[in-house]
């Protein structure tokens, strides 16, 4: 039987399949771990409604906890409050940048006005230049947009604040 601390430790090893440098705990999607008589329950908040990684993450969580010695494991989804990029751990932000993904700026409040042609001042994660352009609000995954550095000419991704 795992203790709660051991369960969290095991969860620290579960990677996001799309961004394998951050764990699900660093991403802030694991809300609660409950040790009950019917086994271990892990409460997870989804990132995006249609994120294709959600089911894979749930399977990886079960696998990691079983490998660490847990008996019965179940994963529950909790929608409220909705996940925000503000929940990403500070350490993970450094890892994201080192991996070539600019970490998210603070999320806007829900009632904020829509801004047209928003261009954020982002520093290129490779050369540090702030001479960058947004190529697309939507990148290779729902959670990222695509930018280009006009100095080193390399494309890079930005983790969208949500």
């Amino acid at each position: 039987m795992l203790t709660e601390a051991q369960a969290w430790q095991a969860l620290d090893t579960v990677e996001d399949p799309e961004i394998p440098v951050v764990s699900v705990t660093e991403l802030g999607i694991v809300r609660e771990v409950i040790l009950g008589q019917d086994g271990l329950r892990v409460v997870v908040t989804p990132t995006y409604s249609g994120c294709p990684a959600t089911e894979m993450i749930a399977e990886s969580i079960v696998d990691a906890l079983k490998a660490a010695g847990a008996g019965k494991v179940s994963v529950e989804t909790r929608l409220a409050p909705p996940w925000s990029t503000d929940w990403i751990a500070e350490g993970a932000r450094k890892k994201l940048r080192a991996y070539g993904i600019v970490p998210p700026q603070p999320a806007l409040p829900d009632g904020a006005q829509v801004v047209r042609f928003m261009s954020r001042k982002l520093a290129c994660p490779r050369c540090g230049s702030s001479h960058t352009t947004r190529l697309s609000e939507f990148g290779a995954t729902a959670c990222k947009s695509l930018y280009r550095c006009e100095d080193c000419r390399e494309p890079f991704e930005y983790f969208k604040p949500i």
């Binding site: 989804p46 995006y48 409604s49 249609g50 994120c51 294709p52 929608l79 409220a80 409050p81 909705p82 996940w83 925000s84 999320a107 806007l108 829900d110 009632g111 904020a112 829509v114 801004v115 047209r116 042609f117 928003m118 190529l135 697309s136 609000e137 939507f138 990148g139 290779a140 995954t141 729902a142 695509l146 969208k160 949500i162």
Partner: protein, 258 residues
């Protein structure tokens, strides 16, 4: 959550949730048809990503509709095993893709509506629906931003992009009448605090949409008495074709799993 929702359930409540789920599903399905066909790679990614958001929202909403209905139907049964007359989304969602301007204008008209709708539904008396709304609102904001930017780029772009954007607006605008048409389901849902009557949102929607169309140098068509009736299950001839593609696999191979 489930237990309190069950005791609140009325036919109007179920229909209201089902309509939201169907609108997300059918709009998402139309967007997904662009995958591999968009004019540039970046927009191919954007359209596919937005399609994923809508299908994800549809999954949450249809799962919840199945719970409210209490007949054991899950999200898949509701998405794949209903006939066209049983879908409750507005007709606008199902209109077939023609060109990128058409998809952009449609996405903008619907996206601006969704932003208002989710924003209001965050305060729903139905806590499960409010949770879905709070989640979807964050995504809807990106959709409204992205599609609105493109409306301006196309409308205030080249002669060709302007011509196409105007043609799309002329065709799609009359279908927005249905979004705000009074409906007994809405009256009951609004009275129970489930969500706003869609007709209440007309003014705010126009206030959001018209300045963008103006900036795009597009001419807003005059309102006509045209009405479509998708919310009542009376759809255009296009829905059957969409469903034939979308439902083919689960109907041909019942119970198939990946």
């Amino acid at each position: 959550m489930g237990a309190t929702a069950m005791t609140q359930t009325t036919p109007a409540h179920l229909e209201y949730v089902l309509r939201l789920g169907d609108a997300a599903l059918i709009h998402g399905q139309r967007l997904s048809e662009w995958c591999g066909h968009a004019p540039v790679l970046e927009e191919d990614l954007a359209l596919a990503n937005m399609a994923l958001d809508f299908v994800g929202q549809a999954r949450m909403l249809l799962s919840y509709a199945g719970t409210l209905e209490g007949k054991g139907r899950d999200e898949d049964a509701l998405a794949f095993l209903r006939h066209e007359g049983q879908y409750r989304h507005p007709t606008l969602c199902e209109l077939p893709n023609t060109d990128f301007a058409h998809t952009t204008i449609k996405g903008f008209l619907l996206g601006s509506f969704n932003l208002l709708m989710w924003s209001r539904l965050c305060g729903s008396s139905d806590k499960a629906l409010a949770a879905i709304a709070a989640k979807s609102l964050k995504e809807a904001r990106y959709h409204a931003e992205h599609t609105g930017d493109w409306v301006i780029r196309l409308g205030d772009g080249t002669d060709e992009s302007h011509r196409r954007a105007q043609a799309a607006l002329d065709i799609l605008w009359p279908y927005t009448n249905e979004l705000f048409a009074a409906n007994p389901t809405d009256d009951a849902a609004a009275a129970a605090g489930v969500g706003p009557a869609w007709s209440e949102l007309a003014g705010e929607w126009e206030a959001a949409v018209l300045p963008v169309l103006q900036q795009a140098t597009l001419t807003v068509p005059a309102r006509t008495p045209f009405q479509s009736y998708g919310k009542f299950g009376r759809h255009s001839e296009h829905l059957g074709h969409l469903l034939a593609v979308m439902q083919h696999l689960p109907r041909s191979f019942p119970g198939a799993t990946w």
